[in-house]
Symmetry: C2
Subunit: 350 residues, 2 copies
């Protein structure tokens, strides 16, 4: 009888950070594509766009004028989903209808004055400024007594609902710990209590043993396609030492984190030689004043593209109703991403 093989046979994988499973169907990669194709990254952009509400010196929807910033710039979202002045209250009928007021802050983080760049094309020094700004914002927001959790993220590309190509990210900070970080909180806590180490420290040692899912590493950070990755080319940047929050980084680590972020973004663009769309973000300990030794912060990239610049993976039907499903294996994706250059294809000297 044939031996069970993760490369060839339908299986489920477990995510120890969330306690959830994913369906992997490697035998299905040969399926022809007949569905919708995306228009991706076909725009040519100018360095300064007078109609862009994020470019330096321009006027935003609420009439405010952006400063003539030369590096990064942060402001409170003009259409924030979370606001700080919500009246406190609760609605409850039995145990089935439950709602609670939620206060918070939404910030927009401009990564560069240049309208036509993305992290993939920025230099490491520029990205280091973004990292510094995230840390500054985190520090300020965590002093707000209404804020228990701070979600830093970036939507890149129109296909990811990003409404403006100007390189930017967002920070949504709020009173409650959202669903995804709450799962990781619980599983990391239980593991740490039992083992005295973080999940991601032990996980990184396993990745070093198998060497199948590592994309690259530098002095302080490892980039892997997680064993339990959901998106076809999902990756995770893991600090090699356990740290609860990005504010715990040394100066040297801030530099190498910027290096890892830049190189991963460049590899993504190089994969299909297109501006590669993704949602990315940082999961870290709650900003509740506790130490949270169980937390090992990390950055995840969730890119939707599947087999080319125009064919994406749809998380629909089965995925929405049952659980995530993927065709190509994480090991295959890691292989592809590992083989790529860290130099952006546009800057390549031929």
């Amino acid at each position: 009888m044939t031996q069970f093989d993760l490369k060839d046979h339908s299986h489920r994988r477990y995510n120890p950070l969330t306690g959830e499973w994913i369906q992997v169907s490697p035998h299905r990669s040969k399926r022809p594509w007949q569905g919708q194709v995306e228009k991706t990254g076909t725009q040519t952009l100018v360095a300064f766009d007078p109609t862009c509400y994020l470019c330096p010196g321009n006027v935003r929807a609420n009439g405010e004028v952006n400063p003539a910033y030369t590096s990064t710039y942060a402001f409170t979202n003009d259409f924030a989903a979370l606001v700080d002045d919500v009246p406190t209250g609760e609605f409850r009928d039995s145990e089935l209808l439950i709602a609670k007021s939620e206060a918070g802050v939404c910030r927009v983080i401009c990564f560069s004055p240049r309208h036509d760049l993305t992290v993939a094309e920025m230099d490491t020094a520029g990205i280091r400024s973004v990292v510094d700004l995230w840390i500054e914002e985190y520090t300020t927001l965590s002093k707000n007594k209404n804020i228990e959790y701070i979600q830093i993220f970036e939507n890149k590309g129109a296909v990811m609902g990003c409404s403006n190509p100007h390189p930017h990210g967002q920070i949504w900070a709020q009173q409650s710990i959202p669903v995804e970080p709450a799962k990781k909180q619980q599983h990391q806590f239980e593991y740490f209590k039992r083992k005295g180490t973080t999940i991601l420290s032990d996980y990184w040692n396993l990745e070093l043993k198998y060497k199948e899912r590592i994309v690259f590493e530098n002095d302080h950070f490892a980039v892997v396609v997680p064993f339990w990755a959901i998106w076809p080319f999902e990756t995770m940047i893991i600090p090699k030492r356990a740290m609860a929050r990005i504010t715990d980084m040394t100066e040297a680590e801030r530099d190498t984190f910027a290096d890892a972020y830049r190189r991963m973004a460049a590899r993504y663009d190089n994969l299909f030689e297109v501006s590669f769309p993704y949602s990315a973000g940082i999961h870290q300990a709650p900003s509740d004043g506790e130490a949270h030794a169980e937390w090992h912060w990390h950055m995840v990239f969730y890119p939707p593209l599947l087999r080319s610049a125009t064919v994406k993976k749809f998380m629909v039907g089965y995925e929405m109703l049952a659980n995530p499903q993927r065709d190509i294996t994480p090991e295959f994706s890691a292989d592809r991403l590992r083989s790529l250059s860290d130099i952006h294809f546009k800057n390549r000297v031929v």
Copy 2:
């Protein structure tokens, strides 16, 4: 001080079926849209398409010929994500790398021989045939000793990754209970043990008390925008009496279920006068031979459109990393859907 009001203020709502929360930001509905717009339902279709692999009499990718079916037709997916002949096995290293073989069956369900119809335009008798086929398939699949859970679903529209407009759905049946039904299993079980009633029986009584989220009802089914809805126009068809599985329906209930499905699909098309995309499906008890008195089966519709035929809600960045977020309230959406006709706009006599 202003009173906390679900209509105006940022809040979180609890989903008692899954134990998860969602962020509601009603104050944000006024936000202008600058992002990607979709091409939706602009195609004009023919009743029979010689190149369609689902039309009667046509040849499929694997060389098989579809019969000249006149009502519904089911076959095993030619590119199935779950297959029955997987070698049984497990991969495990410590408690962090865990994978298990997963056997299953993927079926494709053609709803009608007509290439140019959808459930929204089919008649109730035609939809009743689909319901009968689902029940037949469920009954057959549940006899397979490898099958513990059967997920019936429909992806409608190119924007939902549906690769063929021919009206069809799918059934993915497998050895394990997937993540979403497993959450509902757990929460319904705990509630039933404590209360002796199903969550959805008690929930429907609450909806009758408030009358704010009911879209419509017939003799045996209620259609509501759930209090905890994630998608802008998400709805749920709830049987008025507790039943674990669709196989428990009486003849009369099969008819009224088909009626509810048709009327909901027609209202969706009428909302923006366009073929309305969604993923829909049925959550029901596992097919494990147990009674599961705690389960109250229901059908959910997850449509992505937000404010017009071309602007969809993106579940990206914050939603992927933190938790789902919505702007318009479920009560607002229910109001809109309630005000619409059950007669499809194309069949309206002016």
